[in-house]
């Protein structure tokens, strides 16, 4: 389905020139203070993303990348700023890619549907787009310019959309400390927690967040049976790859201790497979109870 959407969007781009429209949402010369475009605005489509961001492309591709536009700007003081807009396949993809940028030390910014600013960059979610404004090094004097760019670009993109349902559910319950990351594949998961082997858990959607100091993962499956089968498969793969680790089965899951001395506890609940990861077993237990309460 995801590929069909990407194909359709690409087809529309070819015939209706949405690519050109996306290009137009980047500010022109002196549209924002004295900032001027260096060279020209670049449009990146499909596999060109690998030319543009090399290894950074994998995560966008995993979420469902459609196209991007990018430009570098300079002001009269010769200071530099880069603006990038990534158009993703759907709302889940844009939230996922956006959440990947979120930093626990970032502050909310006023742009798009939601935005965060930290040190030297600002990331914004607006509809199917992720907007990234960055400067070569942290410079508080440029914070206002970063926010202006973020806000101006976001306001030119009319579409808005909802977050993935599971993210909203957890947000509404206010159990997560800070932001919630949305994951759609092994590249994203590998950046959040490294199960060994990396292919241990098959899934299509998951979320990650913290409850106190416990890292929590919730894998969302279509049916309890699918969740159960994937948990069994995950346990089998991990046991094979980690012969020195003691895995203990429970009535509805399993647990083990990882190389950082975290207890990693898997729990099957309805169509979900949850993991709580932390050194403090009591806190992890409380986190698990909170998750189950939300998933009820």
């Amino acid at each position: 389905m995801r590929y069909l959407i990407i194909f359709m969007l690409l087809s529309i781009n070819l015939t209706n020139g949405i690519g050109a429209e996306l290009k137009n949402i980047l500010p022109g010369n002196k549209e924002i203070d004295d900032w001027q475009v260096v060279d020209s605005i670049r449009t990146i489509k499909g596999n060109q993303l690998f030319d543009y961001i090399d290894g950074g492309a994998e995560i966008f591709v995993e979420y469902g990348f459609v196209q991007a536009v990018s430009a570098t700007y300079k002001d009269n003081a010769n200071r530099q700023l880069q603006a990038e807009v990534y158009e993703m396949a759907d709302s889940a993809a844009s939230y996922g890619a956006y959440s990947f940028y979120l930093n626990s030390e970032g502050q909310n910014a006023n742009a798009g549907q939601e935005a965060q600013i930290i040190d030297y960059y600002c990331v914004v979610r607006k509809g199917n787009c992720v907007i990234v404004i960055s400067i070569p090094q942290a410079d508080e004097g440029l914070f206002k310019s970063i926010e202006k760019f973020a806000s101006a670009i976001a306001s030119k993109y009319n579409q808005t959309n909802a977050k993935p349902e599971l993210v909203s559910k957890i947000e509404k319950a206010s159990i997560a400390l800070g932001h919630i990351k949305y994951i759609e594949g092994s590249v994203g998961l590998g950046n959040i927690y490294r199960f060994i082997p990396g292919s241990a858990i098959k899934f299509s959607t998951a979320v990650s967040f913290f409850i106190d100091k416990t890292k929590c993962l919730v894998f969302d499956y279509n049916t309890p049976e699918e969740a159960n089968n994937n948990a069994a498969m995950a346990l089998q793969k991990m046991q094979q790859s980690n012969p020195d680790v003691a895995f203990t089965k429970t009535d509805n899951g399993f647990f083990f201790t990882d190389f950082k001395n975290n207890q990693v506890k898997a729990l099957l609940y309805k169509n979900y497979l949850t993991f709580t990861i932390g050194k403090d077993v009591e806190k992890a237990k409380i986190a698990e109870e909170k998750i189950v309460e939300v998933l009820k």
Partner: protein, 307 residues
């Protein structure tokens, strides 16, 4: 998944390989040592990255141990124009220190295997002191030639910059950063900088949601490392991307370390620990080790660390 304390881990390897007796002399300014007492990797901490680079190279035996006088040298610096965000590119002072050591050692035939960003040297005020040295380095030709890689598992042919095959010695100067695909990028991954865009693109299975994409890329990276030996590796672990690499923006880790050695696998095995990975967590380390290209087991190496 057994707990491994990295400090003890490295300390024990140091004791086994180098011997405690050499520690004071190295710590006081990286005195040149000789013979078996030299470490395989020297890692120097400090905010003077220029000096850390010099100390690291001196600690493993000095520049001439790896690059004899009269050699034609290729520099593979991870600082092309597309890496613009903090923590994504090798820092200028590390390259300047390398150039100084080469110059002091009477090595003047130097070329880039990939040109650094136009503004690369202007990022450091120290560059003003070395303008003639900087201008003496030959630009990359931009001409790629096809090479066969008989020992490769996946990449049997690759297009590489022609100078890669022409230089006598290769100095690899990557940045030690996060990579959202293969998790870590250091010496082995930086060899992609000497390959053509088409070759590199073929390493990605592109529009795929298959976990094997990472496995495929990891194997391709290992394969291109068969093309030629890296004679000296100097890795920048000063201010690096800890998340959202290799492109950024992401969280910056101020590790303030520069480390040098000649085994890319050992260097990467060490480097990934600075980003809180274990060597075996990085597939390129594992595949390279399995295929006889090196060994990710840090216990096999003597590692000198100056904090």
């Amino acid at each position: 998944m057994k707990n491994i304390d990295r400090r003890n881990f490295l300390k024990s390897s140091l004791i086994a390989g180098v011997g405690l007796a050499v520690l004071p002399s190295l710590a006081k300014g990286a005195t040149k040592l000789s013979g078996s007492s030299l470490p395989d990797i020297a890692s120097i901490a400090g905010t003077n990255h220029f000096q850390s680079t010099i100390d690291a190279i001196e600690a493993i035996g000095g520049i001439n141990k790896f690059i004899p006088r009269g050699s034609k040298v290729g520099l593979l610096i991870n600082a092309p124009g597309w890496w613009t965000k903090p923590g994504s590119y090798t820092h200028t002072n590390i390259v300047l220190a390398t150039l100084k050591l080469l110059n002091d050692a009477g090595i003047s035939d130097i070329c880039y295997l990939i040109d650094p960003a136009a503004e690369f040297f202007s990022r450091s005020p120290l560059s003003e002191k070395y303008t003639s040295l900087i201008s003496s380095i030959k630009k990359c030709s931009g001409n790629y030639v096809e090479v066969n890689i008989p020992n490769a598992v996946k990449v049997k042919k690759a297009k590489v910059i022609k100078e890669l095959l022409q230089v006598d010695k290769l100095i690899n100067i990557p940045i030690n950063k996060h990579h959202s695909g293969v998790l870590y990028t250091g010496c082995m991954k930086n060899m992609m900088g000497a390959c053509s865009g088409d070759t590199n693109k073929s390493f990605h299975q592109s529009i795929s949601k298959d976990v094997e994409d990472v496995e495929h890329l990891s194997q391709c990276i290992v394969d291109i490392n068969h093309i030629r030996k890296q004679d000296l590796c100097i890795t920048d672990a000063t201010e690096v991307l800890k998340t959202n690499g290799p492109f950024g923006p992401g969280e910056i880790a101020k590790i303030n370390k520069v480390f040098a050695g000649s085994s890319p696998v050992a260097m990467d095995a060490y480097g990934c620990t600075l980003l809180d990975y274990r060597p075996q967590d990085i597939r390129t380390n594992v595949l390279a080790s399995e295929q006889g290209f090196g060994n990710y087991d840090l216990k096999k190496y003597s590692i000198f660390e100056k904090e």
